[in-house]
């Protein structure tokens, strides 16, 4: 430890001997670190938003379906447990929130137009906490209970259908015997969502109304469980899995929406690759700086060896110097990134490419997120790789023969 301080002081002083070179290198490291974190914050912000939006539409972090439902989301593939059995099994099991729902493809027809939608038969009270629809931001009103006879459509869909609150539409689907199951509904509310696609795709009706219409008694298509954090669903998954047998399939949201699931996994991979690419671009300059720093003080290294410093101390000194350079550069870059990201956290408006972002599944406002884990990862990766890259010049410096080094001109 004592030796560390001795070497650190030497390294620090040497770092500033050629201050121009050090400043140029520091700037490069700082820009690199800034770019790592800034870019990651933007991407992370976009992906987080996408996943949060996406998960809220699924909704649910863990879901129960009939084993065939995901492949064939038909009314015939219903959860083996009916409403009463579900209540009995999950009602008192201590889940933060859960709900059972009817979810089948349907067609909605106004007097003008027809469109395909996903018909959701829900218990509005059970889903209030996690629905992607803000019940209070609905033109008209949201559903009031599972027996509500009205339908709530997306505002965009209502536009296309040329319908509005108070008018009637017909919802059409099939019953388990493939007879047409249809029913007229009064439009009671229009909901708003971040993306047009969401507003176009869903029609909410009362759960019991839907069960009546589809003639499926009190059975449902899916049961959804929502926890506190979509990133950590294993505890819920295990809890749910322990409560059911294999007549149903329990899935994590990443299995239901594989695009989002892949996105989440990819994000970390992208981040690491980006950090490594920038580091590699920096590493040439770093090694170059160290090689020059060693070259211009070969004689002094010889002197230190002659005075009784061990080669390992020379090695340590160069490594510490390199680590200091990196640490200072990273620190500046981190602060710079923080200072540029913070003012943007309110959101960056990128609506000029809104439709393009929608193809990615992202919304038109980008919320960069200064994620401390990402910052730590970037810094640690750079320090570790920087250490490895410095080994060669440092090793060479420690291998000089004192006599040769000292007489070198």
């Amino acid at each position: 430890m004592h030796m560390f301080f001795v070497l650190s002081r030497l390294a620090w002083r040497y770092l500033w001997r050629n201050h121009r070179r050090t400043i140029v290198m520091l700037s490069a490291i700082a820009i690199g670190a800034w770019a790592m974190i800034f870019m990651t914050a933007l991407t992370r912000g976009m992906v987080d938003q996408m996943i949060e939006d996406g998960v809220s539409v699924i909704p649910g972090h863990v879901l129960i379906h009939d084993p065939d439902y995901l492949d064939d989301p038909s009314v015939n593939n219903r959860v083996a447990l009916n409403d009463a059995e579900l209540d009995e099994r999950f009602g008192d099991a201590g889940f933060v929130s859960w709900a059972s729902r009817v979810r089948v493809p349907a067609i909605v027809t106004s007097e003008r137009e027809s469109r395909g939608v996903t018909l959701l038969g829900i218990d509005p009270q059970a889903e209030r906490g996690f629905s992607f629809v803000d019940y209070d931001d609905v033109d008209g009103r949201f559903l009031e209970g599972p027996d509500d006879k009205g339908v709530v459509l997306g505002a965009k869909l209502a536009d296309t259908l040329e319908t509005r609150v108070g008018k009637r539409v017909v919802l059409m689907s099939q019953d388990p015997d493939n007879e047409i199951a249809d029913r007229g509904f009064r439009v009671v509310g229009l909901f708003h969502a971040e993306m047009d696609a969401t507003e176009e795709s869903y029609a909410f009706v009362g759960k019991r109304t839907a069960q009546d219409m589809l003639r499926i008694g009190n059975s449902v298509s899916e049961v959804v469980f929502v926890g506190d954090d979509y990133r950590d669903v294993e505890p819920i998954y295990e809890k749910v899995a322990a409560l059911v047998d294999d007549s149903v399939r329990v899935s994590r949201w990443t299995e239901v929406d594989t695009y989002l699931g892949t996105m989440m996994g990819m994000m970390d991979g992208f981040m690491l690759i980006w950090v490594i690419v920038i580091f590699l671009a920096l590493s040439f300059g770093l090694v170059n700086t160290l090689v020059m720093a060693v070259f211009e003080r070969i004689r002094e290294i010889g002197l230190m060896l002659a005075l009784g410093m061990k080669p390992s101390m020379i090695l340590g000194q160069i490594l510490i110097e390199s680590m200091m350079l990196l640490a200072v550069g990273l620190l500046i870059g981190d602060v710079l990134a923080w200072a540029t990201i913070k003012p943007l956290e309110g959101g960056i408006d990128i609506s000029i490419v809104a439709e393009g972002m929608e193809m990615f599944g992202a919304s038109s406002t980008l919320y960069p997120s200064f994620n401390i884990d990402d910052v730590i990862l970037a810094n640690v990766v750079v320090m570790i790789l920087g250490f490895l890259a410095s080994l060669s010049p440092a090793w060479r410096a420690s291998r000089y023969e004192p006599v040769e080094a000292i007489t070198k001109v």
């Binding site: 070179r21 290198m25 493809p105 067609i107 137009e113 296309t160 170059n288 990128i350 393009g356 972002m357």
Partner: protein, 409 residues
């Protein structure tokens, strides 16, 4: 060789390790740039090509407002004669008429809401690649037959195969109830879920009968020989339909605003990354050249005392930099092209890519191709920044006083 050139060349190799490290930074960035730009150009090309050839074509003739609302009654009257006239007037066969309706498709066991295209069996294969993707059975051949082709996933979900009957329910152009029974004659597989699950095509004549179209359709699709000629073709089409105030012509970027914007969004984030790489290389060069100038202070002092002007020494430094940059550019472009070519042969993919890119009608493996432009665009920019980075060290020479310089060791 010119003496100045020779001098610059020798100076460059006085610290060969340092020079190689700096060139290494250039080559590293150039290889990445060449590969990434080649990959991007290939991906964008594929994205546009695949997406346009699925449905939209390079442009469409539609009724005003149809693009946004897709309402059944926003029709193009006498659509087939119009398509025939355009084919004749523009002397092009890649023009086809279509109708589009939303309907419920019911098999014996299942019902799903789908989009139904009425197409001209003779001309559709020339504007879209769906007819070429038939996996089972055959494509449509008779304009008035009660036949239909559907996607693989739809066939699976409906549990039907070739020869089975499908009942279509929907509303006609006047809002009246429309129904028909058609025969499944073919099943196509595009690999894109949305298309394979939600789309069917039937002959336009039969389509017009079922939906009471009275000879009308919704669009005339045109495909230019390639993307570059689309704009020119659009002008001719606009001229050809200008006599009819009920028709508008939309280019692909208007039909699919998301596609262009997705490319723009992707490009801007890519350019940010490229910019960072280039700047980091510039810093590497700045560092090297600054050191190279500072360590030669003594030597420069001597030649200045001999009467050489700082400007000439500055040019020498620039020449050295240009040589170094040139080597970096050529090696980088070649290595980058070689690297890219490996992927041209073996294809580029990463885990999760198939999920990620299917939104853009891209396959899970792409084969990027290096062109002269993608090979030199990046390296040339790096070269220019390299030169720019050497300006400061070169200008510093003007501050040199011969006597003081000679005293420095």
């Amino acid at each position: 060789m010119n003496i100045v050139l020779r001098l610059a060349w020798r100076n460059l190799w006085r610290h060969s390790r340092r020079t190689w490290l700096t060139i290494g930074a250039m080559v590293f960035s150039n290889v990445l740039l060449v590969f990434m730009i080649s990959l991007q150009v290939s991906m964008y090309g594929l994205m546009i090509d695949n997406t346009l050839k699925v449905f939209s074509g390079h442009m469409q003739v539609q009724a005003p407002g149809y693009k946004d609302d897709q309402k059944m009654r926003q029709v193009v009257h006498d659509v087939q004669p119009l398509a025939a006239r355009l084919r004749r007037e523009l002397d092009s066969e890649t023009i086809a008429a279509r109708g589009w309706a939303f309907g419920l498709a019911s098999s014996a066991e299942r019902s799903y809401g789908i989009g139904i295209y009425g197409v001209e069996p003779e001309f559709e294969p020339r504007v879209s690649n769906i007819p070429g993707l038939i996996e089972q059975g055959r494509y449509l051949d008779d304009n008035n037959a009660s036949e239909i082709v559907i996607g693989t996933m739809l066939a699976r979900n409906l549990r039907i195969g070739i020869g089975d009957e499908l009942t279509l329910l929907g509303s006609g152009v006047d809002g009246s109830f429309a129904a028909a029974v058609v025969n499944v004659v073919g099943i196509f597989g595009s690999g894109v879920k949305e298309i394979d699950r939600n789309i069917a095509q039937m002959p336009l004549g039969a389509f017009q009968d079922i939906f009471y179209m009275d000879g009308a359709g919704h669009q005339v699709v045109l495909l230019a020989p390639d993307l570059d000629q689309a704009e020119f073709l659009q002008a001719s089409v606009e001229a050809a339909v200008s006599d009819n105030g009920d028709l508008v012509v939309h280019g692909w970027d208007v039909l699919l605003p998301g596609l262009k914007q997705a490319i723009q969004a992707d490009m801007s984030s890519a350019f940010f990354m490229y910019g960072i790489l280039v700047i980091l290389v510039a810093f590497s060069v700045l560092n090297t050249q600054l050191m190279s100038v500072l360590e030669r202070t003594h030597e420069f002092g001597i030649v200045m005392a001999l009467g050489l002007k700082p400007g000439r020494l500055g040019r020498l430094v620039m020449l050295e930099t240009a040589m170094m940059g040139f080597i970096g550019m050529i090696l980088g472009a070649l290595a980058g092209a070689l690297f890219t070519t490996w992927f041209t042969v073996n294809g580029f993919t990463y885990p999760g890519m198939e999920e990620m890119v299917s939104n853009f009608n891209l396959p899970g493996r792409v084969y990027p191709r290096a062109t002269l432009v993608s090979m030199f665009a990046g390296p040339l920019v790096v070269f220019l920044f390299t030169l720019a980075a050497a300006v400061y060290p070169a200008l510093r020479l003007h501050r040199l006083h011969p006597v003081e310089a000679m005293r420095t060791n």
